[in-house]
Amino acid sequence: MTFRNRALRIYTTVAEAVPALLLSAMFLSFILQVFMRYVIGQPVGWTVEVCAIAWIWIILWGQSVSARDEDEIRFDIVYSAVGAGTRRVFRILAALLLITVYLIAFGDSWSYVSFMKIEDTSYLDIPYNYVFAIFLVFLAVSILRYALIAVQELRGVIAPPANTSLPEDTPE
């Protein structure tokens, strides 16, 4: 195994572990919430907050850091009908559009997220800028990901067709 492969494998493992742990936390919180209210009769409120934070992080982390091309939902009526060359041009254009807009938006987004340190979450008292920082990760990693896609396409790596039927989970 080359160093590059090993690094990629570690990245993939960590990238996928984060949303998986968050989903586990959501599951346990919900169960605890029902148990405390229905069985013990002492309802708790903080579980909702854990779930809401986990929900945001699963989505934005999952769609940037651990995103796979085949997981993304496309409106692919045209995209899947055109030839490989045209699709390459499409992918480069789409990547450039996303990179440009997200780069322009980064400053204002940063300013919103850092402004939100003015308030804390209700139960866990976490400043909202920490909770919402995942949006900046989402923007930054998406820019990098699409830059990589654009570079690959420019270097002539063949684009996969839309929504390819890869196995549900690639073997490790």
Binding site: G45, M116, I118, S122
Partner: protein, 304 residues
Amino acid sequence: ADKPVLKFSSVVSENDIRAEAFNMLAEKLSDDFEIQNYFGATLVPQGSELTAIQRGTLEMGIIPPQDIANQAPEWSIVTAAYLFADTDHMLDVMAGEVGQELDQIAADKLGLKILGPVYFGTRQVNLKPEKQIMTPEDLKGMTIRMPGGDAWQFLGEAIGANPTPLAYSEVYTGLQTGAIDGQDNPLPNDYNMKFYEVTNQIVLTNHLIGFDLLTLKLDIWNEMTPEQQDRFQTAANEIIDWSTQKHLAREEELVQFFKDEGLAVYEPDRAAFRDYAQAKYLASDFAESWIPGMLDKINATAGN
């Protein structure tokens, strides 16, 4: 020249009395400003009106005192159960010395111009079980839905119940199935959300005088001429007064409506509730952020 546009976001629905009041406000001030009303939290998600005004993406909003207390803890005093004896008491206090002190804090700390308290009803306990409730002890072990957030949940504890947070849209089915024993809201909300269809009694606890604050970004206020400020404040006072009277009348007629629907509607031992709640609040962290002497001033205003 084009009139300045003031975007005004509120959570109230388009058919609410307050929506009508805010449309009247836009009409009254139409010589100076173009106030754009957005109802049903369609412009700004519920709970983010305050930060949106501070960041300059919104000019006006109605903000719950609980949200203001997030950033200015001194405000948490007006979120305490049984602080105000009734609506008149709340209006007197907020218009008087205490209100001015709090408004000044909102101006200095948060950059908000507070135009006045928009009353939307007095919170009452609405229950499915038929057990008669006279004291906080009678609510022991009952699961009551309160809005999310620790200030609201504490309010539930302060009346002796087991509070649980639940989405507003899920309260009806929660009551229907018995996932919760009850909920607390002003009578107009009980009516709008049809809670009377799935509950058996309303205990007139009067535990919290419900109001939001009509607010404007302070910078905009400061840029007005004194005459404009005067017109703005007068118009705000007029629509707030109109809306308050409408709500009070509505609450009165709803008591009979709920009785006709077959619910038991009655007063508990309010003194017992008040003593229990005030002891809870004074022993809590919330009371530590209250301005010394303010509670006494508020109590002294009672009965005027």
